[in-house]
Point group: C3
Chain length 280, copies 3
């Protein structure tokens, strides 16, 4: 019996786990159904293609019964949410859960409106394998799910986010990832931090959406170790950003070089750059 992702990590650190996960995505080319926002579709698809996965943007409720059973994972992103898209998101998520297929939620701007927050909570109730958002999105979801976590004296957003992430993970049963200067990933008990990436990624639209799609591809190839797969995807995307930043002259060229780098990342670069650590 081969060592699992987690066992390998404990033997030799995160580098080999991350590399093994990227290699599995390249080898298996998992089909990822994306129901994502209009802004992100181009970069999401190109991120998945460059990583070796196969994106499929299908969002019509009529097609889900035929198509969703064929996919390796489902990705749902509520960025340009509207009432006519929500039923397909819920139908696909429910079917994925029923079929035991991993699915990943990006609750973009969860707190921007009552309509959106309600939609996100309904999706969370359908048991996503992973939820990834920024601090304010995760805090909004956690506060709405299990009550405010922010203490009277609290002023440290990343600490708030970590508490919110742990509460949301416990309440939902999902792996919860919070993007930031350090990405936080937790199952409610274990917490790991991914230190890869560069700040300029925030000046490119849809990078958050795209790394969440990449999480779906990584979880598709190792669904039993969703925390490790999530951390691996965040690390790989961050490393591609670091490599791109070496030659970028601004956000637009960074986007190009990041995708090029993601396509050609090799083992030596991955092993030398993976920067993941537990919180203790």
């Amino acid at each position: 019996m081969e060592p699992t992702g987690k066992d390998k990590k404990e033997q030799s650190g995160w580098g080999p786990t991350v590399w093994a996960n990227l290699t599995a995505v390249r080898d298996k080319s998992p089909l990822i159904q994306c129901i994502t926002n209009f802004v992100s579709m181009d970069l999401v698809a190109n991120t998945l293609l460059s990583a070796g996965a196969s994106p499929a943007m299908l969002h019509s409720v009529e097609e889900i019964p035929d198509f969703t059973p064929q996919v390796g994972a489902l990705y749902v992103n509520v960025g340009t949410l509207s009432a006519d898209w929500l039923p397909a998101m819920k139908t696909a998520a429910r079917l994925a859960s029923q079929l035991g297929k991993p699915w990943v939620l990006d609750p973009v701007a969860a707190g921007a409106s009552g309509f959106r927050l309600k939609a996100c909570l309904e999706l969370v109730a359908l048991r996503p394998t992973v939820i990834r958002g920024n601090a304010s999105e995760i805090i909004a979801l956690s506060d709405a799910s299990v009550g405010p976590t922010k203490g009277v004296d609290s002023s440290h957003e990343s600490m708030d986010a970590m508490e919110a992430a742990k509460c949301l993970a416990e309440a939902s049963g999902s792996i919860v990832a919070v993007s930031g200067a350090v990405d936080i990933i937790t199952d409610g008990k274990t917490v790991v931090g991914v230190h890869n990436g560069v700040p300029m990624l925030q000046r490119i639209t849809a990078t958050g959406c795209s790394v969440t799609a990449l999480i779906a591809a990584f979880v598709a190839v190792d669904p039993l170790h969703a925390l490790e797969a999530t951390a691996s995807a965040l690390s790989i995307f961050g490393i591609a950003g670091e490599m791109g930043m070496d030659i970028a002259k601004g956000p637009a060229s960074l986007r190009i070089h990041m995708i090029d780098s993601l396509y050609s990342l090799d083992q030596a670069v991955v092993l030398s750059r993976v920067n993941i650590a537990g919180f203790s």
Copy 2:
């Protein structure tokens, strides 16, 4: 009391006004709600991010009452218009006007169909702060609003456009901008021309949509001087195009270099390149 944008311009020309407006966008990072066409969403978002603003693509009518009150400005673009998107455009525009928030209209292909022209006129009636289009779009709107401006002997499109822009501005109360080899901006009386930009921008989709989004960001930070803010945004976008053109090898690399340039424009470049003049 600090001099206003207009006073500063009169003291020392347009350069300092344009630079002050760009600096204000970078400092204040205004939240810009974009209800724009599918083709343009990626470039619009990246243009706003590179300029320092915060784009939010929210178009569902259910979210507007909660969200639109939070934004710095609203941008409405009818490029891929359909009957199911029009109510959100009108609801958001009406709310922005009621709240005294600036909003900007891009009447893409206004004359392409009766349905589209009617929709554009309904939006114009909701009093946009700024309307930006190309010559044929502004002429179509002006003709439909106040009757044909084209004389029997007229054969000079840019002169037609200027007359149409002035008529439309007077009739609507909006600042009207007409993109072309020289961009024309008018409040119905004063007319200024922006001479920045390069012709190859016309071979990149959504550059017109994106500069209109940039106008929304500039108007958000100086709503009391919408004509100056509009001219500033057009000049900055044109300068970014000029800088990009220095190293571009075609339309796709121009798009990349333009966004990179927009991100890193500094005071010396802006002051030396701003090319705005009144018409007399």
Copy 3:
């Protein structure tokens, strides 16, 4: 009387035909109505602009009676199909056929669901001038139209695709193009192969959608020789990819360099690189 596209080809090979077609697109700048999927809109529009054509993304059923009569060709792509877009696709296709205007169908993922296959067959019944897909899409359409073509012993996908393409072309009256390592184009009797292009194009989203849009532009300028126009567009797109590949560092930079190359392709490059041959 000038020699037609076909006569010119027979006199001096494919190079002059392809170059003449590209020149005609640049000179006439045909207006191409695109009803295409969300993922592809940016690259489709930029491909058409770089080739010299004029894209117009209009998909609302209310606008079709006014707008479609003005276009040079119609392009319909079912990538992100939904029940609310299908009526516009069919209305526009029916009107184009009635007006004698060329229209081109991209049956993306035709076999992915029963809903999608039925929609594609309904569109095929509206007599597209050209249908372009990959092997599995064309086989799915052919099998559903005229019964399975795959023999018991058949294991050679490209041979299956050629048979399927010929059957579908005969049954539909359309030119059928199958993208692959060698692109196959047939009217049911004549079969030609286009050998231009590079494998990495498959790692960029919407390149298939974009070359189909380019086919629409080429057919718009030479509707009486749709097979030649289709082969020309596939060759030009492939050559642009080859030129881009010379300096690309991955899929994202290939996309940029390909569009730049498409914009600036000159006669010497086209004549030296066109690689089209009949099958005998």
